[in-house]
């Protein structure tokens, strides 16, 4: 889908497959996932927990927890494959070219080191700076993420910061070495609702200023709507729908996305009641044959139960749904 | 080790009884079948218990019946060594007792004390843990304080102390007769803390759940209903603690007996046998010590292996 583009995207993921070998057979947690992120772009990845969105992020930076492993596909950063690099090469990319923001700022920072020590060690790992230079850069970064009294606060330990402040420190750590891409995994889920918006705004502003693209993993469609340029909806390890954020929200094409949008209360429209999708996402051990969504789908038909749909272009979006197969009549025959 | 069992206690503590049941149905037996070492350990443990329980029928002689002993056969080496006799597989000691038979009888005492003290510690620990977790407040603070202090003293020292006190209180003959019970008391009383901590944690979680409040409303004593709900939750971790504690208890008993403050020589445990045999080490009669020692180590190792496996199997996080 991206091969015809004139400008190479910053990150390109092709047919990514992540497996967890267990003694009862292999679980496929991410199955045939392809997408790209352009330089400076914000791609939202949304889905229920267990849909494979966090694992996709972990796979890109080579930090899958064993026994999880990339079983197929490739990950390209600026057109160079990075999924098959040595551990040492990947390490140099992490933090330098791809930064990360984790879900829980309370547990992301080492409690035994001051935030300054953690910033300085990260800066000095990636950039050729003296300790004094690294420290002044660290103070500058803290100031940039909006920590008041940065000169003083740099010598404080993580537990002396509030949750929101800690997430700002985490963002500063992610931006340390001017990466081209930030993978933010549920960056606001663990925070107070009142602080979530601040952090999202900050993240978006900083990434724009630093020219970094963002892969924003979340289950909060509201955050995506405010922040993302494009959005990928994941379900049971696959991408169900991907497209420009406005299009996906206004005109969702996949029945799952339709259900997902229906479950968000909208202020500008009077909705009699919230639509809910019947049932729950299947466990990885019991993904149905055909389309993984078929047992819950209100528009299910025969073909959905036997054949697995790939992403198909639907105007501006791509949706993995037989409803959008080139000729519907042909499809229903199956 | 202590820490790891607490870890498993934490993770398994929150699961519902149904989940535990499911785990028993599948995961545990799967990992059992896939671990030859564990299966071997289980077989060895089983053999040890069978040998101990049926010692009077399995032993070739009753080493404590003086009429069956023949001083002419004293200090014979094992059967396969020159000078050994086939009917004394592991040789004989200085009084002509068959070492193989003394081991069977000895492990009887060792296991009796081991199992007895584990049961005592379990009842004591589970009871105090429930009480501590349920009552809270100053009772809880007191019990946990005592537990902290006791934990900072090695079990063997506490057992030695209890043994020393009873020795001073009871006359010598009475003490010898009661030695096994004194040992069970001292080892059991020094081992309750682990159980209590685990059960207390789980009790505190359950205490605030709605069914306990509901029980109060319908007039049932909350303590009774909690017992029924807390116990299934802590069964896994308590089983792990008990298994590892059994190994520790057997070692402690052997150590106390080796030190001469355990069971009397007229009723020897494996530790006593090693103590007796130790006197002949320098004269080259190694078998009197080495075989009881080997029996002890193999038994404890097998129990430890079972405990290790159980802990890992109940705590999938560590796999």
């Amino acid at each position: 889908m991206t091969s015809t583009r004139a400008n190479r995207p910053l990150l390109e993921v092709r047919n990514l497959r992540v497996e967890f070998p267990t003694r009862r057979g292999t679980l496929v947690a991410v199955d045939d996932v392809s997408f790209h992120i352009d330089a400076g772009e914000v791609l939202g990845v949304v889905g229920e927990s267990g849909a494979g969105k966090s694992l996709t992020g972990a796979a890109i930076i080579g930090l899958l927890e064993p026994p999880g492993r990339i079983a197929g596909g490739e990950v390209r950063l600026e057109d160079k494959r990075i999924d098959n690099l040595s551990a040492e090469h990947l390490r140099r990319i992490r933090g330098r070219q791809i930064g990360a923001v984790f879900q829980d700022p309370l547990t992301s920072l080492d409690p035994l080191f001051t935030v300054g020590q953690q910033l300085v060690e990260t800066i000095m790992t990636h950039l050729d700076l003296s300790e004094a230079q690294a420290r002044s850069r660290a103070i500058e970064l803290l100031r940039e993420v909006g920590i008041p009294g940065a000169e003083r606060r740099i010598d404080h330990y993580p537990h002396q910061f509030s949750g929101g402040m800690r997430q700002r420190v985490v963002i500063a750590l992610a931006l340390c070495a001017q990466p081209r891409l930030i993978i933010a995994d549920e960056p606001t889920t663990a925070l107070d609702v009142s602080i979530q918006a601040q952090i999202i705004t900050l993240l978006k502003r900083l990434c724009r200023e630093h020219g970094a693209a963002v892969m924003l993993v979340t289950h909060d469609m509201g955050v995506i709507a405010e922040t993302a340029d494009r959005v990928a909806v994941m379900y049971a390890g696959r991408i169900a729908e991907i497209g420009p954020v406005g299009e996906v929200i206004r005109k969702p094409r996949h029945p799952y996305t339709i259900g997902l949008m229906g479950s968000i209360p909208k202020l500008d429209r009077a909705v009699a009641r919230l639509v809910q999708i019947e049932g729950a996402m299947p466990r990885l051990t019991a993904i149905p044959t055909g389309c993984a969504f078929n047992p819950r789908c209100p528009k299910v038909f025969e073909r959905c139960r036997h054949e697995r749909p790939d992403l198909m272009p639907v105007e501006t979006n791509h949706a993995a749904c037989w409803l959008h197969a080139p000729t519907l009549t042909e499809a229903t025959r199956g | 080790m202590a820490d790891a069992t607490e870890m498993s206690a934490r993770s398994a503590g929150g699961t519902a009884p149904a989940a535990l049941q499911r785990a028993f149905d599948s995961d545990i037996f799967y990992s059992f079948r896939n671990s030859p070492i564990t299966m071997l350990a289980a077989v060895v443990t089983l053999l040890g218990f069978v040998g101990a329980i049926f010692a009077p029928w399995l032993a070739t002689q009753n080493p404590f019946d003086l009429r069956t002993l023949n001083l002419m056969d004293a200090s014979l080496p094992p059967a396969w060594v020159e000078g050994g006799e086939a009917k004394y597989l592991f040789g004989t000691d200085n009084q002509g007792r068959d070492v193989f038979s003394t081991i069977l009888y000895g492990s009887r005492i060792s296991l009796l004390v081991g199992v007895g003290s584990v049961l005592l510690a379990l009842v004591l620990g589970v009871g105090l843990g429930l009480l501590s977790g349920y009552a809270g407040g100053s009772i809880d603070a007191f019990i946990m304080r005592v537990a902290d202090v006791q934990l900072s003293f090695p079990a063997i020292l506490i057992a030695l102390l209890i043994d020393g006190i009873t020795r001073a209180i009871l006359p010598r003959e009475a003490h010898d007769a009661a030695a096994v019970y004194v040992l069970i008391l001292s080892i059991g009383a020094s081992g309750w803390v682990q159980y209590a901590r685990t059960v207390r944690g789980s009790t505190m979680v359950e205490k605030n759940k709605e069914y306990v409040q509901a029980a109060r409303v319908i007039g049932r004593h909350p303590f009774a209903i909690m017992l029924r709900h807390v116990l299934p939750n802590v069964m896994g971790p308590v089983l792990v603690i008990a298994t590892i504690h059994l190994a520790v208890a057997i070692i402690t008993e052997a150590t106390l007996s080796f030190l001469g403050v355990g069971v009397p020589p007229t009723q020897p445990s494996l530790g006593t046998l090693i103590r007796i045999g130790n006197n002949f080490l320098f004269s080259g009669e190694w078998w009197i010590t080495v075989f009881p020692g080997a029996a002890l180590v193999i038994m404890v190792l097998a129990v430890n292996l079972l405990g290790d496996w159980l802990r890992d199997a109940l705590n999938p996080k560590l796999r």
């Binding site: 992301s108 | 202090v149 080796f258 030190l259």
Partner: protein, 329 residues
């Protein structure tokens, strides 16, 4: 900080008071010291005279106060068995036990911690599996059996090392040391290995399980995501965090070593406090038992206190917001 120290000190004093009470109860109520000292044949006047001499006729709290006052000055009376002042007997035995325990503690930490770190980091290497198997055997081998086996191999069969005693010692004031003579050092080898082996395996297993726990934490994952070198992730972040809980347990283990010396000293006839204690238990020599109990408890309390302070130094979370975390433990 000050409040924290005072609180811990108070707790220590409380524990010592409780131990003192147990020791005193031993004295006052266990066995009949008069029967023990005079034997079976005595008349009532002799009995009354000795009771008065020992202060046994006074009320309970006066006796306890006297006991505490004497104990604080190191006076635990006269050993029934040896008929000598208890403090003199203990002072004679103390250096032997402390030298043995310190060597064993050093060995256990110096070998156990690196082995634990290694097996935690390289959990699938064959060497780790080997260490773990050996450690399980180590945990299953009772200390006295290790001693016996070592004696059998190195003293009886090979004849390389002595099987009992301290060898020649050198007098330094009232302290006797085996560190400066060849026979003294040779005599230390087997007992210290025997004493350290169990603690060593315990510390190794503890460090390993803590290390595995820490390696699973978010901040280690985030440290990797920041692109830090493995060396920094493992030895700067993971090891430092592992050591926080390890300090507590290691401290307790060091206390345990002194208690476990009882067994090693018995096996090797090492002339230390442990051997003295076990002889006293067998002979119901209450004053020595009470003194040993108090001394050992004192050592434990001191170790616990030092551990608490170390904890404080290592973990910044305890240093600030003290009020909120003051009641830890």
């Amino acid at each position: 900080m000050i409040a924290y120290i005072i609180q811990r000190l108070l707790q220590s004093v409380l524990v010592m008071a409780a131990v003192g009470f147990v020791a005193f109860s031993l004295f006052a109520y266990v066995g009949d010291p008069i029967t023990i000292m005079l034997g079976q044949d005595y008349n009532e006047t002799e009995r009354a005279r000795l009771a008065a001499q020992l202060g046994l006729d006074r009320p309970f709290y006066v006796q306890f106060a006297n006991f505490v006052a004497n104990a604080v000055q190191g006076d635990f009376g006269i050993s029934y068995r040896l008929a000598r002042p208890v403090n003199a007997v203990i002072r004679e035995r103390l250096p032997a036990t402390l030298e043995l325990s310190l060597i064993a503690a050093f060995l256990a930490l110096a070998v156990g911690v690196p082995m634990g770190v290694y097996t935690g980091l390289k959990r699938d290497s064959w060497l780790s599996r080997f260490f773990l198997t050996v450690s399980l055997i180590g945990v299953s081998l009772p200390t006295f059996l290790i001693g016996i086996l070592l004696i059998l191999v190195f003293a009886v069969i090979l004849g390389w090392l002595p099987s009992f005693g301290r060898g020649e010692t050198v007098q330094l004031g009232w302290w006797t040391t085996g560190f400066f003579t060849k026979s003294g050092l040779k005599a230390l080898i087997l007992p210290s290995i025997t004493l350290c082996l169990f603690q060593l395996t315990l510390i190794m297993r503890l460090v390993r399980s803590e290390m595995l726990e820490v390696l699973r934490t978010d901040y280690i994952k985030f440290a990797r995501a920041r692109g830090l070198r493995d060396r920094a992730v493992h030895f700067r972040h993971a090891l430092r965090n592992t050591l926080v809980p390890v300090i507590t347990i290691a401290g307790l283990q060091l206390g345990a070593i002194i208690a476990f010396a009882i067994i090693t000293e018995t096996v090797f006839q090492w002339p230390g406090m442990g051997l003295l204690f076990i002889q006293s238990v067998s002979a119901t020599d209450i004053p020595v038992m009470a003194a040993y109990l108090c001394l050992i408890s004192f050592v434990f309390v001191v170790i616990n206190f030092v551990v608490d302070l170390l904890y404080y130094a290592v973990d910044p979370r305890l240093r600030v917001d003290r009020g909120a975390v003051g009641g830890h433990g």
